[in-house]
């Protein structure tokens, strides 16, 4: 469960990236986050994974108030979240395999389990054949998919994705979204920030719309003509 209660985020520069944002995402729900460039999407996601802290208001994850979470517990929070970063955040000093294995090593998985899981995740993004390459040798879209594989490799209960399909062609974007949907179907809470309105329209999920830091939309996407089971009362 992810809950924002009147959250405002003002950066040191004075920039107010989020203004009084409130919403709740139930466990196992899937939603989109959209809005213009600089609207505050990445900031909202950063607050959830404690890359930034709210200036005022409260962020709750699984009935835990993040403001009250001690520094010591941040790593445990982050291990619950698979995150696809807008700028990939891959390490170019090691192979694709090692990049994807990182969350497992950090969490102290046994070496015996790691290989199986990493290959499974790489297979899902169709990049198993590139496991030995350096991410720098991959195309922009391939790098993005490595980031997705790393986010899902330890099957976290939360999945946050920031513009995960910005460098992907429409067909691949749809496949990746399908992948997220499958994760959601086994209970993972999914929140995806994206500009791809057409994709949102096709997916029939709830969407949060930001404008200049304020939440101006919170419900099924207006672009969606037909709603699925999840959305049928909107």
């Amino acid at each position: 469960m992810i809950r924002f209660e009147g959250v405002t985020k003002r950066y040191d520069s004075g920039q107010e990236a989020l203004s009084d944002v409130s919403f709740e995402l139930e466990s196992g729900e899937m939603a989109f986050l959209t809005g213009h460039s600089g609207a505050g999407k990445s900031t909202l996601l950063k607050l959830i994974m404690l890359m930034e802290r709210a200036t005022s208001g409260e962020v709750w994850i699984d009935n835990q108030n993040l403001a009250k979470l001690s520094k010591r517990h941040i790593p445990l929070l982050r291990r619950k979240m698979g995150v696809v970063h807008q700028n990939h955040q891959l390490l170019f000093d090691r192979s694709v395999y090692d990049n994807v294995a990182l969350p497992l090593i950090v969490a102290g998985y046994h070496p015996r389990d790691i290989g199986r899981r990493v290959r499974g995740a790489l297979d899902k993004v169709k990049l198993l054949h590139k496991e030995k390459m350096n991410p720098q040798m991959l195309s922009g879209g391939e790098q993005q998919r490595i980031g997705i594989a790393r986010a899902v490799v330890n099957k976290p209960p939360f999945l946050l994705a920031d513009e995960p399909t910005g460098n992907l062609d429409p067909a691949l974007s749809a496949e990746i979204m399908q992948l997220f949907k499958e994760f959601n179907q086994v209970g993972v809470t999914v929140l995806v920030a994206t500009h791809d309105l057409a994709l949102i329209a096709r997916m029939h999920h709830r969407s949060l719309i930001l404008r200049d830091g304020s939440l101006i939309g919170n419900g099924a996407t207006k672009l969606a003509p037909n709603n699925d089971a999840n959305m049928d009362d909107n």
Partner: protein, 336 residues
């Protein structure tokens, strides 16, 4: 809010099921300890490999450390040796009685034995004119001159060892006057001032050495700390990404702590080599001195226990430097 919530709750349970599945599958205590251990081994190995990738800069740091460790260690050894060299005068004050010319060796020995019974006197030794001449002859350049002399110009000498413990400077002076008053004694010499000076110097040197040791220990910590800081800077991205993925500070810090450890141990080992090389060179130099002084001096080196202590200290200081740098700089490297 949404009817969908119900559906989500159901799948939410699914989620926690799969979450538990993860926990049980790979987070049992035994398995965790095992992977923790193998991770330590791996990190220790990798951090050595990383040092070997940049051999010149690693060597540079290790050399600086070695010099910083060698300096106080060598100074301490010199002080120990000097104190040992002056060992007899350290525990005892020595008085020289130059006898009147013309006294026979028997008379000299008798006098020596007589004085040995005085209060505060530990022992005495008679040096005959011939012995004195011989020891002079062994000094370079004097042989010819002394051989050239018509007769041995040197007097007999009685060396009086006085126990220092019970001895004030006044007592010593009184003892000297008593000896000087003896008929057979031409001159009685006791070098208290020199002795006091030497003791003061050794004391000062020990203080300087202590301060220097402390300073250079701080220096070692700083040098390791700085090197680790550079290593952290160059692995900034890796640290940030690893933290983003849920690595604890301890996990991120680990390779750097090992690196500091290796630096400290490496520096101490090279320092040991340097110290022993210095000792070897000094021993050669002192051997000639020994001949002149007529005593047989063997330099006290470090010995096994002290060597081990040195390495241990190096390791600890290296680790400390790394720890300080790592805690400070890694905490500052929060992902943004």
């Amino acid at each position: 809010m949404f009817k969908s919530t119900k559906t989500n709750r159901r799948t939410g349970e699914n989620r926690s099921d799969s979450g538990q599945a993860i926990n049980t599958s790979s987070h049992s205590l035994a398995s965790r300890i095992q992977s923790w251990r193998s991770h330590h081994r791996l990190v220790a190995k990798q951090s050595i490999q990383r040092l070997l990738v940049t051999p010149v800069s690693s060597l540079m740091t290790i050399l600086v450390l070695a010099i910083a460790i060698t300096l106080p260690a060598a100074l301490n050894i010199v002080i120990t040796n000097v104190a040992q060299l002056t060992g007899q005068t350290n525990d005892h004050v020595q008085m020289s009685l130059y006898l009147q010319k013309g006294l026979s060796d028997t008379q000299g020995i008798k006098l020596a034995n007589q004085i040995a019974d005085w209060d505060n006197v530990t022992s005495t030794r008679y040096v005959s004119p011939q012995e004195a001449k011989d020891s002079f002859k062994s000094m370079d350049g004097f042989a010819e001159i002394i051989d050239n002399l018509p007769e041995n110009p040197l007097p007999g000498v009685v060396i009086v060892i006085i126990s220092e413990q019970s001895l004030s400077v006044n007592d010593a002076e009184m003892l000297r006057e008593r000896a000087a008053a003896l008929q057979k004694v031409a001159i009685a010499k006791i070098d208290l001032a020199w002795l006091q000076k030497l003791h003061a110097i050794i004391g000062l040197a020990q203080q300087v050495a202590a301060v220097l040791t402390a300073l250079l220990a701080v220096g070692v910590v700083l040098v390791v700390g700085n090197t680790i800081k550079l290593a952290i800077d160059s692995r900034r991205e890796e640290i940030i990404v690893t933290k983003l993925i849920g690595a604890t500070n301890a996990f991120v810090r680990r390779p750097f702590l090992y690196m500091g450890l290796w630096f400290g141990i490496g520096g101490a080992l090279i320092a040991l080599i340097l110290i022993n090389a210095c000792k070897y060179a000094l021993t050669n130099a002192i051997e000639s001195l020994s001949l002149v002084y007529g005593t047989d001096i063997s330099l006290a080196g470090l010995g096994f226990t002290n060597s081990m202590t040195l390495v241990l200290m190096g390791a600890m200081l290296g680790w400390l430097g790394a720890w300080l740098a790592a805690s400070q700089h890694i905490r500052a490297l929060e992902p943004r």
